[in-house]
């Protein structure tokens, strides 16, 4: 049942990515639409705006979730492809271990980056 849970989480992460990426892309690249709707101020990519978001707990939670779900979704797919390329039982165990170690390392590094940005945003 472990594989079933992992697959369910893969599907859930896809749904979460639709929401989280929509928010991210909406704010970063389609700000005119949001500005037109009166949801954000102008110049969302100004340093002050970026630093303001970096200091916001809501935005940081959003980016931690985006990082986690994107990593999980991508690495789950990569793992499946690698299982087909190297298909021995031993290779399967090695791939699983590498994917988990790589995923955790990148997640911790990303988390550190977000915390640094929060500190800088809060300092302004």
């Amino acid at each position: 049942m472990r594989e079933t849970r992992l697959w369910q989480l893969h599907l859930f992460s896809a749904l979460a990515l639709i929401v989280l990426l929509s928010l991210h892309m909406g704010v970063q690249h389609y700000e005119k639409i949001l500005t037109g709707l009166g949801l954000v101020g102008e110049n969302v990519r100004d340093f002050a705006s970026v630093a303001g978001r970096a200091g916001s707990a809501w935005w940081n939670v959003l980016y931690v979730l985006l990082l986690g779900f994107a990593l999980y979704h991508g690495l789950y797919g990569t793992r499946r492809i690698l299982h087909e390329v190297w298909y021995s039982r031993r290779a399967t165990r090695v791939i699983d271990t590498l994917v988990v170690v790589f995923g955790l390392a990148v997640f911790i590094y990303g988390l550190w980056g977000i915390l640094q940005a929060t500190r800088m945003g809060g300092a302004l």
Partner: protein, 291 residues
């Protein structure tokens, strides 16, 4: 033969143009390119061409039989029922996995390429090694599993099942085990440990059967590293199936069953003992045996 000759004469007298066309059709030939492989001599497949006279309604299997009878007796292929029931004659015909006995040469053009099924080892010429398909099929426990072992060992009556309950798995029960779906599967092409569409669809067939309660045993086999979640949903298996079974649908339904559990939580009970018995004494009896 006599009747054919007399019919031909009659047609020739009635309509010479029609007789000429019939003669031309009888003399028409096709080129059959056959992949040959002898494990004792060859390291890879090699192609050999045969010219085969055609006849109306001729199948690829008929053409191969004709080659074996009249041109090369060493050609190896597998066949049995010649009517699309046994699933023995699965081959790769003009780039698609098909049953040779169900494929008419008239649909395929002047040149027909026949090769052994992809994604399988080759035993000789057009004979694929189906042992991996059968191994995977066996692994998913393709039989009714129940917890009432005494009833299973010595059944007293039938298990209850409505026509609607049977409809849930009926199409998957038409599987011939011909392995055409496995030959078409892109995942099976790269991962030999992948259970494959045949076994996975059969796992659903038995799990959806209300008489069964062995789903947990099947879940343990199919929800694994090289199990059901490796399916790319290409749908090639469903295209290839000669009996109209939709293994891709079976795999999707099985995924849902893995998440939500089967629709039935307990196996179907045996039918109740009839309350009234028809009086058989008034029925006419069969005459006594004469021998």
């Amino acid at each position: 033969m006599a009747s054919t000759s007399s019919r031909s004469t009659a047609v020739a007298e009635a309509n010479p143009a029609q007789a000429e066309a019939a003669g031309a059709a009888a003399a028409a030939t096709i080129t059959v390119r056959v992949a040959r492989f002898d494990p004792e001599k060859d390291k890879a497949l090699r192609w050999q061409e045969f010219s085969v006279p055609t006849a109306p309604g001729m199948t690829v299997l008929d053409a191969l039989v004709s080659i074996k009878e009249h041109q090369d007796g060493s050609l190896a292929f597998r066949s049995s029922c010649r009517m699309g029931v046994c699933g023995s004659c699965g081959m790769y015909v003009n780039g698609k996995p098909r049953l040779a006995c169900q494929t008419q040469v008239g649909e395929l053009g002047q040149v027909i390429e026949v090769a052994p099924l992809p994604n399988h080892d080759v035993i000789k010429d057009l004979v694929p090694d189906l042992s991996r398909t059968f191994e995977h099929h066996r692994a998913i426990k393709p039989y009714i599993i129940r917890d009432d072992e005494a009833e299973m060992a010595s059944p007293t009556r039938e298990f209850r099942q409505t026509p609607e309950e049977m409809e849930r798995y009926l199409q998957f029960a038409y599987c011939l085990k011909c392995s055409l779906c496995v030959a078409a599967c892109p995942t099976a092409a790269t991962d030999p440990l992948f259970l494959g569409p045949q076994a996975l669809a059969q796992a659903y067939r038995y799990t959806a059967d209300t008489r069964d309660c062995g789903w947990q045993e099947r879940f343990d086999v199919i929800a694994t590293d090289h199990g059901i979640f490796n399916c790319h949903l290409a749908g090639a298996c469903s295209e290839a199936c000669p009996k109209g079974v939709d293994p891709a649908l079976g795999i999707q339904l099985m995924k849902r069953t893995l998440v939500k559990g089967p629709a039935h939580r307990a196996p179907a009970p045996i039918v109740e003992e009839p309350k009234s018995v028809i009086d058989e004494s008034k029925r006419p009896q069969a005459p006594p045996p004469t021998v």
